[in-house]
């Protein structure tokens, strides 16, 4: 079964992350890279996302697309990245999420299973 792990960051942490000196950032990535290596066999997709400030949102006002600056999730948290994982069940996905090293929350969502290849 496929799940997507959405990696959350507080906006404050995301900012710290950006302003970190290069060497420190490389060091901070080490546990994240380890996590990805550990679960390489189960991760079937995903990306780290560029920060919130790069986001553009298309909203629909009575069907008419309106382009606005910023993410559509409002509040203190933002999504820093996601990984698609293929595992047996929720417990296995939760086990992976529990080992996520950034300190930020991880939302685990099953993907819709159409039971056939995507069109």
């Amino acid at each position: 079964m496929k799940y997507v792990l959405l990696f959350g960051e507080t906006k404050e942490r995301a900012k710290q992350w950006e302003t970190m000196p290069e060497a420190q950032r490389t060091a901070a990535y080490a546990p994240i890279n380890q996590w990805f290596e550990k679960y390489a066999g189960k991760i079937t997709g995903g990306h780290e996302l560029q920060p919130d400030r790069t986001a553009t949102t298309v909203k629909f006002n009575k069907g008419k697309p309106v382009i606005t600056d910023g993410p559509f999730i409002e509040g203190k948290e933002s999504i820093g990245g996601y990984a698609e994982v293929t595992v047996a069940d929720l417990d296995e996905a939760l086990e992976m999420a529990k080992g996520w090293p950034t300190g930020g929350p991880v939302e685990v969502r099953p993907v819709v299973d159409r039971g056939e290849p995507q069109r």
């Binding site: 047996a88 417990d91 056939e116």
Partner: protein, 388 residues
């Protein structure tokens, strides 16, 4: 076209619904992508695809439901492992606490939704919906139906015990004399804890939780007077305590102790046991109780436990020392009626009556439970008459 689908699905309403959905999809796609060469075939293919989705989902849902329901109410026949799987699935941490409670009562204890609704003073529809949603999540998120692996066991067992303890408190604390007709959730919770003891006899905290429940239940008859008023531990008629239940709880605690893994439920049961063993209020071993609270605080730091420790200190070290401890909790417990009720008692001990009255007023504002309110009101009246 509907008929072709009905043959496939064996369900006319569903087939019609899917044809409608296919038409909606056509309305959305055709203006943009142009009308396909064979519109009828396009529609049928679309509807079929939807039918297949639907059947897959339903089949999965039915299988899971059958697993869940199959284990309900098979007291003597169900294999122990099956029941454990069921309990751990109902109490999976991916479900909300209220869903865990409702599902466990329904699937493991075999209560009807009406009985559960009555116990929680809510509508049957609310409980039914809660249970349906929980089952949906089990199916859709693929929550596994199994006993957790060793590495997760401690955490998952804690979750199960927390569900049972919440259920117990819901029944025990909400009970009043007038509500004799309300289903006794506390007894249901104790039955479930007993089941857990049979299924996992080597887990000391399970034994501790059952002992704790039995010690509380042993005092149940003495907790209310004939008029339905709450009677505090110190004023209870100890002859009305159920000695047989106390004895069985003591045996459980001793069994737990031989496993040499202490835990919060065993410690709380040990505290309750100190009270149960005291022949009179005056014989209570406060030194031991304060020591047990210290041990509990080490395992489970919590302002509520600190408040209880302070109450015990009142009897060991006097109201001054206890009030100092209680006042330190003001920030954490300012919204908790027992914090103010305790302060009121201590202030009264120290002859600071106006402050005691203010604290009682605050406590009254913070609880809606009729038995508790009546008790606080009696204390307030007591203060007023002493003053006259």
């Amino acid at each position: 076209m509907t008929a072709a689908l009905v043959r496939m699905l064996g369900d006319f309403d569903l087939a019609e619904e899917l044809v409608q959905e296919a038409l909606l999809e056509a309305i959305e796609h055709w203006p943009k992508e142009g009308i396909p060469e064979k519109p009828g075939a396009w529609l049928l293919t679309t509807a079929r695809r939807k039918a297949v989705d639907q059947m897959r989902r339903q089949a999965r849902f039915r299988d899971k439901l059958a697993q869940l329901e199959g284990a309900v109410m098979r007291d003597d026949t169900a294999e122990g492992d099956d029941r454990l799987r069921l309990i751990f699935t109902c109490c999976h941490p991916a479900l909300s606490r209220e869903a865990q409670v409702a599902l466990t009562l329904r699937a493991v204890a075999g209560l009807t939704t009406i009985e559960i609704a009555r116990a929680f003073i809510t509508s049957e529809a609310t409980i039914a919906q809660r249970i349906v949603r929980a089952k949906r999540k089990i199916v859709d998120a693929n929550i596994p139906y199994r006993v957790p692996e060793e590495r997760d066991m401690a955490e998952r067992l804690e979750e199960v015990l927390a569900v049972l303890y919440l259920m117990f408190n819901e029944g025990y604390l909400a009970t009043t004399g007038e509500q004799a007709t309300r289903r006794d959730l506390a007894e249901d919770a104790a039955w479930l804890a007993g089941l857990m003891v049979r299924l996992m006899p080597g887990e000391p905290e399970v034994l501790g939780l059952l002992a704790l429940m039995r010690l509380h239940l042993a005092r149940a008859r003495a907790r209310f007077d004939d008029a339905g008023n709450l009677v505090l531990l110190q004023d209870q008629d100890r002859n009305r305590w159920d000695q047989e239940r106390i004895g069985s709880a003591m045996v459980l605690l001793q069994r737990a102790a031989t496993l040499h893994r202490s835990g919060p439920y065993q410690l709380q049961a040990a505290i309750a046991a100190c009270h149960a063993e005291a022949g009179t209020w005056g014989e209570t071993d406060w030194r031991q109780i304060v020591a047990l609270y210290d041990a509990l605080l080490e395992l489970m730091p919590s302002p509520v436990v600190e408040l209880n420790r302070a109450i015990a200190r009142r009897h060991r070290d006097g109201a001054h020392a206890a009030l100092d401890d209680v006042d330190r909790l003001a920030e954490a417990l300012g919204g908790y009626y027992l914090f103010h009720a305790t302060r009121a008692e201590l202030l009264r001990d120290l002859d600071r009556e106006p402050e005691a009255r203010a604290a009682l007023r605050r406590a009254l504002e913070l609880t809606a439970n009729p038995a508790e309110r009546a008790l606080l009101q009696r204390r307030m009246d007591g203060l007023n008459t002493e003053n006259e």
